[in-house]
Each structure stands twice: as C-alpha cells, then as structure tokens.
C-alpha cells in the first residue's frame, strides 16, 4: 500500500459577513470531492459543529489553511481572527469584507452610537420605549450573560492580524478558490506573502468585451435605467459609472456580462493607495466641462458617491468616516 500523503487541514470562518462567502465555498459542487480527498475540514461554523474550544485546543500551526471571510466588527470576530492566526500556517483573507472591509464596512460612515440609535430606537419597525441597547454583560440570577462587544469601527482582517494572502470578491469566484486551493495542495510555488491571489493584475477592462474608445468625456452621469444599453458600448462611455476600470479582473466580469456596471468587489489593482479616491480622481478627470458651476451640476447627478466609490473598501481607505 502506498503511503498516503497527509491530508491538509482546512478551516473556514466567517466574521462580519453575509454568508455568501461560505456559500461560495459550497459552490465547488462536485469538486468538493477533490477538496475532501485532499483536505480535512477541521473548522467551519456554517457547516460543521466544531466548537471554539476545539480550536483553542489545537496546537499552534495545526491548521494548514484558513479562509477567513467577513470583516472584524466585534470582539468575537477579533478573538477568533487572532486565534485562527495562531493556529494556521496560511491565513487567507477571503472575500471583500475580509480583504477591504466590504459592505459592512460602509457602517464606518457612522459611529457605534449612531448605529445603535438607528437600529434600536429609530428604525420604523422598532418599538423600544425603554431604549434598551445591547450590553456586553448582563447580570441575571443565574449568573452573567455575555455577548460580543460591538466596535466603533469595522476593520478588514489585516488591520487585526497578519494576513498571508488575499482572495478578493463578493463572493470570490469559486473557480478561483479551487485554483488557489489546488496550488496549495500540489505544493506549487506560492506567490510572495501579502499577494492578492485568485485575481488578475489588471483592471476589469482588460477582460471586458464591451467596445472601448477614447471617447470617455462625460457631460452627464446616468444610472443604468436611464440609458438604452446596447450591450456593446463601454458603460462609462454611456455615462454610467462602472467601477471596472479601477477593479481587479478575476471574476470574469460577471456583472458586466449581465449588463450591469461593475461594483468593484474585487478591489483595486496593486498600486492603488485608496480605492475610492482613485476612481473619484479618475472620474473627475473625464468630466467634460471647465466651468465650475457646470461641473458642480454634473457631479450632482452622481447618486451616493461614498457608497458607489467606497462600496467595498471604506475600512481600508485613507479616509475614516464622514466629518
């Protein structure tokens, strides 16, 4: 009997996440057999009943590969992030939230107090005359109840622990995950630490099949429903803001293929310092006017600029919150 190659130990965890990343792991479909043939899943809260305590009892470096999805929003996320860092040989920030802060990161436009006030007092479906808000600790006769502490800021994984690789996407394209996983299993030469894996080095336009000309000047910004999209012309050339030019390829330009402009979930290319600032500066450059009043009017047409340009990246941006 051939001596069997030891199986990899694999963990998947979710922090502040929607669950989509875990589903993307499930989306390997029949390739799951290849995965489980090569790896044992030792921790995956969405699918397995492993307890935190079980992880704590593992020796350091016990796990070969951890896919950490979701941002770090509360003390539980932070605790597990630190724990998994200690227990894992390779820690991958998996998906937009873990990579850059993601959709939950847009909450950084508000403080913890503002969020609590909205959610527990003001929201239309809330009746809370005593203004009860989550307390990290609550004493009852049986003892003290604890829930995680809600932080003021959402952070991407690398603001909390050292990260080996980033696998971007909301969620990451499953094929990319399989490629990365198989590369680790087969012992292929891994890229330098800190690299973005499972994505291209150029922006979406490289793959995008829409026609791109130098006719990029914009007189009016439009939302997708305001144009008769011919399915062929570059969105930007039709006045629709598309994050594609500022976003890494790798997803197979899924949204654009579906005739929707890119939202930017794959994050910026390598040398971009601040995603939102970069695309804003780019779009400002192609506004077709030299008159301040006219420019002002053109910009007015951009609905929710913060949410458009920092949709996935606010917690990793240079700006922190609104003034």
């Amino acid at each position: 009997m051939n001596e069997q190659k030891p199986k990899l130990k694999l963990a998947v965890y979710w922090g502040a996440a929607c669950g989509g990343c875990c589903v993307s792991v499930l989306d390997v479909h029949e390739k799951l057999f290849d995965v489980v043939a090569a790896a044992d899943l030792v921790f995956w809260p969405v699918a397995l009943d492993t307890k935190y305590q079980d992880v704590e009892e593992m020796h350091d470096g016990f796990i070969d590969l951890t896919l950490f999805n979701g941002a770090v929003r509360n003390s539980e996320n932070e605790h597990i992030a630190k724990l998994l860092r200690k227990k894992s040989k390779i820690l991958v920030a998996y998906g937009s939230c873990s990579h850059l802060g993601g959709i939950p990161g847009m909450a950084n436009f508000f403080t913890k107090e503002e969020i609590f006030r909205r959610v527990y007092e003001e929201s239309e479906s809330t009746i809370n005359p005593e203004k009860i808000k989550p307390q990290p600790e609550y004493k009852v006769t049986e003892g003290t109840l604890e829930i995680p502490v809600f932080y003021n800021d959402v952070r991407p994984l690398d603001k909390v622990v050292d990260v080996d690789y980033y696998l971007p996407g909301c969620p990451p394209q499953t094929e990319r995950l399989v490629e990365v996983f198989m590369a680790i299993v087969t012992g292929a030469q891994l890229p330098p630490k800190g690299s973005v894996v499972g994505a291209g080095s150029k922006a979406q336009c490289e793959e995008c099949t829409r026609t791109k000309t130098d006719n990029k000047l914009i007189k009016k910004f439009k939302r997708p429903w305001e144009i008769y999209d011919d399915g062929v012309t570059c969105f930007m050339e039709q006045g629709v803001i598309c994050m594609g030019p500022a976003t890494r390829s790798g997803c197979g330009h899924r949204c654009i293929k579906g005739n929707a402009p890119c939202r930017g979930c794959y994050g910026p290319t390598a040398d971009v310092t601040d995603t939102g600032a970069k695309i804003m500066s780019a779009i400002a450059s192609i506004i077709d006017s030299k008159e301040p009043a006219e420019i002002e009017a053109i910009i007015e047409d951009i609905v929710d600029p913060a949410g458009t340009f920092y949709r996935f990246s606010l917690p990793s941006a240079m700006i922190r919150r609104r003034l």
Partner: protein
C-alpha cells in the same frame, strides 16, 4: 535599500529667509531627524561656494540624499541638481523645501514661520528618503525644420537655417511671400522701402535649394515630439477647401511665425468708419501711397489730413495693450503725405507718443519740424468727427479735447487716417492647437518665459517669433526670427536631445486599456496601442504634469519622482504630530 545618508542645507538667502526664519533652530531640529547625517546653514546656498560645499560634503561624508531648504524649485532646482551631478550623485536624489516664497516672504510671525520652515524641511527629508535614481533619456534630433508663415519673421528664420545647410519647409497660406510687410510702403524711422527689404529676402528664399516653399498651403496635422515631428502640409484650393493629397514631412523643430491681423476699424462706430467715405485705415492709406496717389474718395488731393492714434488699442473696450508700431507709422505717414503734397496740413491726434525704439525720438523731432499739428487726447475721450458745413473748406471737422492746452479744438480734415492696432489672427487658436502651445487672453502665443525664454514655448521644439507673439516692429521680429534660428541650430548641433527623467509612464503589466487617459494629455503624449490593448506615454513628449496619473483608475500610470509613496510620505510628515522646537 542602502542606508540613507541625508545632507540638509538651509539657506538664509541673505536676509530674505533669515529675517523671518530662525535657520539655526531649523538646523538644530532637522539634525535630530533619523537618517540625517549632516545639516548646514549658509548665507547663499546657490552661490558657487554654497554649491561647492554640497559637492565636497557628498564626497567626504558619503551622502546619498540631499535636501536644500531655500527658494522655489523653479528658481534653483536645476542649480542644485547640477551640484549633485558634479559630486557623482544621481541628480534626482534631491529635494527642495521652499522656505522663501512659501514661507519667509509670506509670513510676519517669526516663530510660526520658523515652525513652518521646520515642517517643510522635515517633509522634504521624509520624501527624499524614497527618491530613486533616475536616468534621463536621449532621442535623435531630426535636423529638418518646419517654418509656418512666410512673412518677414518666417523668411528670416528659414533663410538663417537654410544658409546653415539644413532642410527647411516653409509653409505660407497666402499665394505670395511677404506677409503684412508686403502691404507697406516705407518703414519707420529711417524711411527705407519695405519692398526693398522684402525683395531681397523673397529672392533668396525662392533661390535657396534648402528651402522647400509651400504657398497657398496649410499644416493640417502634427504628431510626434521634439526631434521627431511629422507634419502634413496641404495645398489649399480656393475657399479653404482641401484638394490635393497632403504632403508629409519629418522635422525636428518648428518655427511659428504666423503674424497678426489689423484691428477691424468698423468695430469702433465712433469714428464713422464705413459711413464717412474719407475715414480710412492706415492700411488703406498704405495702399494709396503704394499706388502713388493720396486722394479722397472723390479723387481730390486732400488739403487737410488728420491721423488718429490708438484705434482699437489701449482701451478696455477692445484691446488694452499698445500695438507698439502705430505711433512711428503715423509719423511715417506725416512724412509721406508731406513729401507727396508739401502744402497739405497734417494733424496728428494721439494719446501718448510712444517713441521708445532706436532712432524713434529723433524721428518724432524731425516730424514736428515739418509743421505737423500734434494734438493730445485723453484716453477714453475720443475725438469726434463731424461732416463739415457747406461754408467750410474741408470735408470734415474733428473736435478734440486737447489735453495739453485744456481747450476744445476743432480741426479741419479731408481725409482721416485711423491707426488700427495689431491683433491676433482669427486662426491663431487653430495654430496654437495644432502645435500645442498656449495663448494669452488676447490670443497672442505665450512664450516659455517672457524675459529669459522669449522665443521658446512650453512645448519642446516649438518656437515662436514675430507678431504672432505680441505686437512688434520689424527689427524686433527679425531679432526674434534669428533667435529662433539660433535656438534651433543649437538643438540640431547636439544631434541628440536630453529629456528630463521626470515623466509619467504606463506600467504595461497593469494597464487594462480603459482609455480614460487617452484624450486628457495637454501635450498629446499618450497613444493607445490597439494591438497590445494598452496605452503608452511617449516620454520625450511628457512634461510630467500628472494629469494622466490622477486620471488612471488602476494606478497603472505613475509619475516618476511623484509616486504615491513619495507624496504621501511628504504629506504624512507635514501633518504628523512632531514637536517643532
């Protein structure tokens, strides 16, 4: 990275900086900053001893980065880069902190100014740590020259270059050479014949084998960069329509000598030009003089001629500038009219007599000696022309509020000559766009520096001469034309040209071909490579303005010497909580 050994030099600029900034405190503060090996203050860093000090320090202390806190880099960056080169250090491992124009000159609180100087110098230190050695590039210089405009300036430039042995393409949109000067009879102040001046030039141009003349032609397109331009010259058939195939030429430099047009007198309704038949413009008088007979519309020899200055010039309504040649031209008319008809009474109605050039004052004096009536009017208080009554012995009467006497004077006139000024040609914007140079508010082409670079432009390889730059007389136009030729010859003689290493470049491994940048470059340095699917910057054309760097959504375009990390390091230093004591 090799250990940073930074030398910091703080200039007093005599008292320019030292009177507001305590340079010794700045030096003391900076010497405590990590990686700073040596700090010195000096009275004039830009002086030879100042530069020599830097050279020696670099050699003796193995300095590998230099910061000079002094004036604006546009003043002395080149100077200090030179010192680095001399010491064998790459000239881009250098940064200037501007503690004069942006600090000592604009503040009045010495303590705050000193703190600001500390912050600016500290930021320059943090930035220079990230500087990388850069190498300039060299490109071949094509010795052929394109001259646009066949007036006195264009022909002079063309002849100068052709006589030096270089191929010149001379393009003139008209069917003849000579430009506006060909419409003139005599020249001021020596009353030489314009025709004589021109005939000699035109004959030489026509006979010069090195000059390929394109009459009735336009330059329709221009691409490339200094040393390597490509231009299309197209023959114009009739009403500007394009007939024949364009003729492509390769050139290294371009002289733009497109001249001026005269102010359209009908824009001033005040003088009745176009309504009163005997109110004419200076160019119409020239035409009469050249035909040999000065007469009124009715064919009579005028007994009274009045000349009015500054028509369209020196007023807020039309052109605020002085057209420079009209005063002397008016005096020339005095002589020409008097010599044609010595009995004629000539009055010269002016605002100020601008007789600034060589021989001009003497000419003015001689003109007064031929019994000319000089009348001065106040700017904005224009003379008023009336038709004369049946009893008067003249056609018109002109009312002038004479400034020197303070009296309202009425003078007779049979012929009124309006001294129309110069203005930018209607096609000047088209030309500026073609060769990529700028125009001022009046439409004149802008020189690189009004005093030190009067014939160069901000686009390398494009030179300007004559009245397309600003109103000027013949000697000035000729001097500029020769200056252009000298500048071009100097460039040609070097064979290759050095292009500053500070330019933007596209990282082809990152550029996705989104084409945001394609139309933004003010210097037309960006081209899109269809087959490769990415954009490319012609480094020799790039002026490092950074427009494309800001516009690139994926940071594929980087400005050398202005990288994000360098700029952010500088900003970080400025806003960091450092104790400036």
């Amino acid at each position: 990275m090799k250990e940073c050994r930074i030398g910091v030099y703080i200039c007093m600029c005599g008292t320019n900086i030292a009177k507001m900034v305590d340079v010794e405190s700045v030096a003391k503060f900076i010497s405590a900053v990590p990686n700073v090996t040596l700090v010195k203050t000096y009275k004039y860093m830009c002086s030879n001893p100042g530069q020599e000090m830097i050279v020696q320090d670099i050699k003796q202390n193995q300095l590998n980065r230099i910061v000079v806190a002094a004036c604006s880099p546009s003043m002395h960056e080149r100077t200090f880069r030179g010192a680095l080169r001399k010491a064998g250090l790459n000239q881009y491992l250098f940064e200037m902190a501007n503690i004069r124009e942006q600090c000592s000159w604009v503040h009045d609180d010495p303590e705050e100014a000193t703190k600001k100087a500390m912050a600016l110098t500290y930021a320059a230190v943090k930035r220079v740590e990230l500087h990388e050695p850069l190498e300039s590039i060299f490109v071949d210089m094509c010795p052929n020259v394109l001259v646009i405009g066949g007036g006195i300036a264009g022909m002079t430039t063309a002849l100068e270059l052709a006589d030096s042995g270089y191929q010149v393409y001379l393009v003139e949109k008209d069917s003849r050479l000579g430009g506006n000067l060909a419409r003139v009879d005599l020249t001021a102040p020596y009353l030489y014949s314009a025709r004589d001046l021109l005939t000699e030039r035109i004959t030489r141009v026509l006979n010069n084998k090195q000059i390929q003349l394109h009459l009735q032609s336009k330059v329709t397109s221009l691409s490339g960069f200094v040393g390597n331009f490509k231009a299309n010259i197209q023959k114009q058939n009739g009403q500007g329509s394009t007939g024949s195939k364009p003729f492509e030429v390769r050139i290294g430099n371009i002289a733009v000598c497109t001249g001026y047009k005269e102010f359209d007198a009908s824009r001033i309704t005040h003088y009745g030009y176009g309504k009163l038949p005997n109110v004419i413009t200076s160019f119409e008088l020239e035409k009469m003089i050249r035909s040999g007979r000065i007469e009124t519309k009715e064919g009579k020899v005028p007994q009274y001629v009045a000349i009015i200055h500054c028509v369209g010039s020196r007023n807020l309504e039309f052109h605020t500038y002085c057209s420079r040649v009209c005063c002397m031209t008016a005096l020339k008319y005095v002589h020409e009219i008097k010599s044609a008809n010595p009995a004629c009474y000539v009055s010269d109605i002016y605002i100020d007599m601008h007789a600034f050039g060589k021989g001009h004052e003497d000419f003015y004096k001689r003109s007064s000696e031929v019994k000319t009536l000089f009348l001065m009017y106040e700017k904005g208080d224009r003379p008023v022309i009336h038709r004369a009554g049946p009893k008067d012995d003249c056609e018109m009467l002109i009312e002038v509020n004479e400034k020197l006497s303070g009296e309202l004077i009425e003078i007779p006139a049979d012929l009124v000559v309006l001294m129309v000024g110069m203005e930018a040609r209607e096609d000047s914007a088209e030309v500026a766009h073609l060769v990529n140079i700028s125009q001022d508010k009046d439409g004149w082409f802008i020189e690189s520096h009004p005093k030190l670079e009067p014939v160069a432009t901000t686009t390398d390889g494009i030179f300007i001469a004559g009245t397309c730059v600003a109103p000027k007389d013949i000697p000035d136009s000729v001097a500029q034309a020769r200056a252009v030729a000298a500048r071009i010859l100097a460039k040609i003689s070097r064979g290759k040209i050095e292009v500053d290493a500070v330019y933007s470049e596209v990282d082809e491994n990152v550029c996705s071909g989104c084409r945001f940048c394609n139309k933004l470059c003010p210097f037309s340095a960006i081209e899109y490579e269809e087959e490769k699917g990415h954009s490319h910057i012609i480094s020799a054309l790039c002026k490092a303005c950074g427009v494309c760097v800001a516009a690139c959504p994926s940071a594929a375009i980087k400005g050398r010497q202005f990288t994000d990390s360098q700029v952010i390091a500088q900003i970080d230093a400025l806003i960091s909580k450092v104790e400036y004591v």
